[in-house]
């Protein structure tokens, strides 16, 4: 039997893209600045988010949703920041999808928020393909992971808007080569904004706060800077 070739042209993650687009529109209408965090496990994402929430909470209305394969340890830990926290337990799924974010926000009034953070599952591979409707995506890696992390995971860095180098208080102890790390980030994402910080010592957190405030102003003025796919 003969076969014929039929052109279709359908994005494989079309459903995710559609939901992400709807979320992005909802966030814009609600004037909430949405920032997602991605990194490998153990880069200090949760500690960083906890510090961020504590720094913002007196001045802004903040909340976070956190994704994990199992356990609600991160949500419990973040609850210490005394802001609304929701856990998304993904089971065997190694990344968050837009549908999971939408579902988790169902009983929240996002109009009452200034900032919403989405902490992805610790993974530098799979989250790169999934748009979550965020305005900005921060890609984190710690000084203990090695300067070549961006070269090993170029795709996720390429979808990010800002690179955060964490645990800078340990930089000297691990002979962290700052210039090499910055060079590697810029090789996979030319022009990427880089912030070096330590949520433990507080160094660099001010620059991160400034970045967030600028993002928030952009949200309010309707200037979206996200290049996330």
């Amino acid at each position: 039997m003969s076969t014929r070739l039929v052109e279709v042209r359908t994005k494989i993650l079309k459903h995710n893209d559609v939901v992400a687009r709807e979320l992005r529109q909802r966030f814009e209408e609600a004037d909430v600045c949405v920032v997602s965090l991605v990194s490998s496990p153990g880069s200090g994402k949760t500690a960083f988010l906890e510090s961020t929430l504590k720094m913002l909470r007196d001045q802004y209305r903040v909340a976070a949703v956190v994704g994990d394969l199992a356990t609600d340890n991160d949500a419990n830990r973040l609850a210490r920041a005394n802001v609304p926290i929701k856990q998304i337990t993904t089971g065997t799924v190694c990344h968050l999808e837009a549908e999971m974010v939408r579902h988790s926000l169902e009983d929240w009034n996002i109009n009452e928020l200034d900032f919403l953070f989405i902490e992805n599952v610790g993974n530098l591979v799979c989250p790169s393909a999934y748009d979550l409707g965020e305005q900005s995506r921060a890609v984190l890696f710690s000084v203990t992971e090695g300067e070549d992390k961006p070269l090993k995971y170029p795709t996720i860095f390429n979808t990010g808007d800002v690179a955060i180098i964490t645990k800078m208080d340990l930089a000297t102890a691990v002979d962290f080569d700052r210039d090499a790390a910055r060079g590697n980030i810029l090789a996979v994402r030319p022009g990427m904004r880089i912030i070096e910080l330590s949520s433990k010592s507080g160094i660099g957190m001010e620059a991160w706060l400034e970045f967030l405030k600028a993002q928030r102003n952009a949200t309010k003025q309707g200037i979206l800077t996200s290049t996330t796919i």
Binding site: T3, L5, V8, I12, V93, T155, A187
Partner: protein, 115 residues
């Protein structure tokens, strides 16, 4: 390892199309994959073999077209093919090229249908 869920989405697209065409038999699915799609071709092939088993498309094959990264070089004012996602620089002048024109593709482009 999200290739399994990607493979299942590919099969869903094929199943929808088969249904739209009154249960046509799809023998091959052609997809286009870019180096910045976050999907590893070999992993997708293995996942696809596994995922298709329980579907009406069990005999269907996956044909992957891998496309290179193409970025626009502001300095040369030209589109350039980039060899590696680890070095997004113009191969001619060496300037960093942030403007990606191709390379994120993750799409079904065509189906082979038994006539």
């Amino acid at each position: 390892m999200h290739e399994l869920s990607i493979a299942m989405s590919v099969l869903d697209i094929a199943a929808d199309e088969a249904e739209r065409r009154n249960g046509a038999n799809i023998t091959a699915i052609h997809i286009k994959l870019g180096p910045l799609s976050g999907v590893i071709p070999q992993a997708l092939v293995s996942a696809f073999d596994l995922a298709r088993e329980t579907t009406p498309q069990a005999g269907c094959i996956l044909v992957i077209e891998e496309v290179p990264i193409i970025a626009y070089c502001e300095h040369c004012q030209a589109s350039r093919s980039i060899e590696s996602p680890q070095w997004l620089c113009c191969p001619e002048c060496g300037a960093p090229t942030a403007k990606i024109e191709q390379g994120r593709e993750l799409e079904v482009t065509a189906l082979e249908i038994e006539a």
